[in-house]
Amino acid sequence: MRRITRIATVGVASAALALTATACGNTSSSDAASDSKEKSVAIAYDIGGRGDQSFNDAAYAGLAKAEKDLKIKGNDAEPSDGEADADKIQRLTELARSGNNPVIGVGFAYAPAIKKVAPKFPKTTFGIIDDSSVTGDNIANMVFNEEQGSYLAGVAAAKTTKSKTVGFIGGVETPLIKKFEAGYAQGVKDTDPSVKVLSQYLTQPPNFEGFSKPDLGKAAAQGQLDKKADVIYAAAGLAGSGSIEAVSTAGAGKWSIGVDSDQYAQAGLAQYKDSILTSATKDVSDAVYNLIKSVADGKPQGGEIRYGLDKEGVGLTDTNPAYVKMTEVTAAVDKAKQEIIDGKITVKTTP
């Protein structure tokens, strides 16, 4: 046994040396640099990747639109579960080096990576969604006033509820989702102080299952329905569809409020759509498209680009005919919207 350990040690050492010797000097990006004649852009996804029916898919929609309208090639890259900053740096470096411009990081987790990579590629524009803490000449920070859209959702909920109890379900308890909660709760209270808001988060970070597991959303919604809530707003990505299902099966008079995209119009939720009152949208796809277009036009966006109610970056949808018929509700929402745009109402970002 002794001898074998020794032999093995020598073997490992020589193998390691051989590995280093053969690989000298080449990096993955130095080879890829040549083939960048065609115009291309890239996005790097957040946890969940493409197909999450929510945040990442919205970013992809922006990329797909740019591919079609602007005739450029779109690349995308997915993260691994629980990866470190080093992996994100590697991903962005590879995307930038192979000639993609702009390179967009979807989600605040890309901030440290963009901070390190952006200065190395001064001619490439880097976009980041949901973060304005990293700044630079070639960095565009796309941020949203989620709390404003959620405020309107709160107004609609307070005006619709009969039981004077409404629910909020957050996917994962992060500062971002707390903005949704804060806006919603404020909207409810400003409209009708007697309405009670039940608030619940599905998971705590770094457990991000609260964005991906519909059964969690379903159970939480069931709990809130049992406590007499009749309007439930779920800001929980894919998990929110569970909540929508629970509300829909609870029968007439119970309403869901969707999030991020217009969930009334989503094919995957078609069987529950009658109970989806409205959705508080966050137009990630437009933000992605705008940045790509600005680079294609030769006038790249930079710095903080804030998408609020005034720019229709966030908002409340009116695709459900049942909602449009509630004229008292829509009137209150429109009034609140105008007041936010005029600056008469300031919406809090923390609960």
Binding site: M1, S28, A111, S133, P175, P206
Partner: protein
């Protein structure tokens, strides 16, 4: 004696090799079944791994995995299944980051303080499971899984801005604040393009040497392995089994506390919501594949890190990078199966040999046989 060593080496290697071959074959079947080119992904992965920057990533990741697997292996040698490495390292990294950010000592002391904090917190968290097991007989499998969830909630609560965390302006992340430069562990630069190998990766290697020495060369290590092999037999020979359970749980947790250190000291310098997760579970895979042997674990850690990092670029070539995840899953299954097969084969072969020798009327090499059976968990 020499011949016997060779047999054991072959048997020891047969398990992992068989597992890898089966895993690769099955992955290829999956690729074929899904209608993609079954060879191209492998080629891309090997090509990607020939670049220095990817190699640096692989080595860094392997260092982290190595620590996680050592933490698990310490338990395994003692017949304890510490599934809680994941929670232990996350809580440890978070507390260490907090301490590191709030104190500013000169270089080495700062690093020593951070590392020590991490080890103590890790040991504390696993110690809870150890005490539950020794005093109440609670299975460590159950208690460590539960402690993982509690650690998640505890970290989430501690990192809230109203407690100890902070939210940088304009960011949607929560961090524990940045550790001052004196607490940054210097790395080995491989060139501006390639990045640097975390200094802590070398500490990880050193931990492997210590592991090998303590378990294989000290009385404590012998007691630990003996208790792992048979608690009652060890007790009969004068080992305090309960003390051994608690001690090995504490050591396992202390090593688990180190898992977050390469990233914390070498790269992120803060604990934030996007700190790497799941390393503890990967550590279990690696410890299994490496048969709890420090060298075996090193190879396994490199292999799993290779699969992780070299598959990252598959996306860009139109292949699913989950291929690597599938392969890792298949490796785990085939490892368990192939080790059992190899063990049975070895046993049968041994019996056959003894039978032949008996039949031939020759002397039985009792000492060699005894050693090989008592030590089957540690073949190689």
């Amino acid at each position: 004696m020499k011949k016997f060593d060779k047999d054991r080496l072959i048997l020891g290697l047969a398990g992992p090799v068989l597992a890898l071959v089966v895993a690769i074959v099955l992955t290829t079947v999956v690729l074929l079944a899904s209608g993609t080119n079954p060879w191209e992904p492998y080629r891309i992965m090997f090509e990607s791994a020939s670049y220095v920057d990817v190699q640096v990533l692989i080595v860094n990741q392997a260092g982290t995995y190595y620590l996680a697997a050592l933490a698990v292996a310490v338990g395994f040698r003692m017949n304890l299944f510490n599934i809680g490495v994941d929670g232990q390292y996350r809580l440890a990294a978070m507390m260490a980051a907090l301490v590191g950010a709030s104190v500013n000592l000169p270089g080495p002391f700062q690093i020593a303080l951070i590392v020590l904090t991490a080890m103590l917190v890790g040991a504390f968290w696993s110690g809870i499971a150890g005490i539950l097991k020794t005093t109440r007989g609670v299975s460590e499998v159950v208690s460590t899984i539960m402690l993982n969830s509690i650690a998640t909630s505890l970290v989430a609560w501690l990192i809230l801005p109203k407690n100890f965390g902070e939210q940088p302006a304009g960011s949607n992340n929560l961090t524990t604040g940045e550790i001052p430069k004196s607490g940054w562990f210097p790395g080995l630069s491989m060139g501006a393009e390639a990045g640097e190998i975390y200094g802590f990766t070398f500490v990880a290697a050193l931990c492997g040497v210590i592991y090998w020495f303590v378990l294989g060369r000290t009385r404590f290590g012998f007691d630990l392995r003996a208790t792992g092999a048979s608690e009652s037999a060890a007790q009969a020979s004068g080992v305090d089994a309960k003390k051994m359970i608690l001690t090995s749980m504490l050591i396992s947790g202390a090593v688990a506390g180190l898992v977050g250190m390469p990233t914390l000291l070498g790269d992120s310098h803060t604990y934030s919501l996007d700190f790497p997760t799941g390393l503890g579970f990967t550590g279990i895979t690696i410890a299994l594949l490496g048969r709890n042997h420090p060298l075996g674990i090193a190879f396994s850690a490199l292999l799993i890190a290779f699969l992780d990092k070299s598959s990252a670029s598959l996306d860009q070539y139109g292949y699913e990078k989950e291929i690597a995840t599938i392969m890792q899953g298949l490796i785990v299954i085939s490892v368990v199966v192939s080790y059992e097969l190899v063990r049975r084969y070895g046993l049968r072969r041994q019996q056959q040999k003894v039978g032949e020798e008996l039949a031939a009327g020759g002397a039985i090499k009792t000492d060699a046989d005894a050693e090989s059976t008592s030590d089957k968990g540690a073949a190689l």
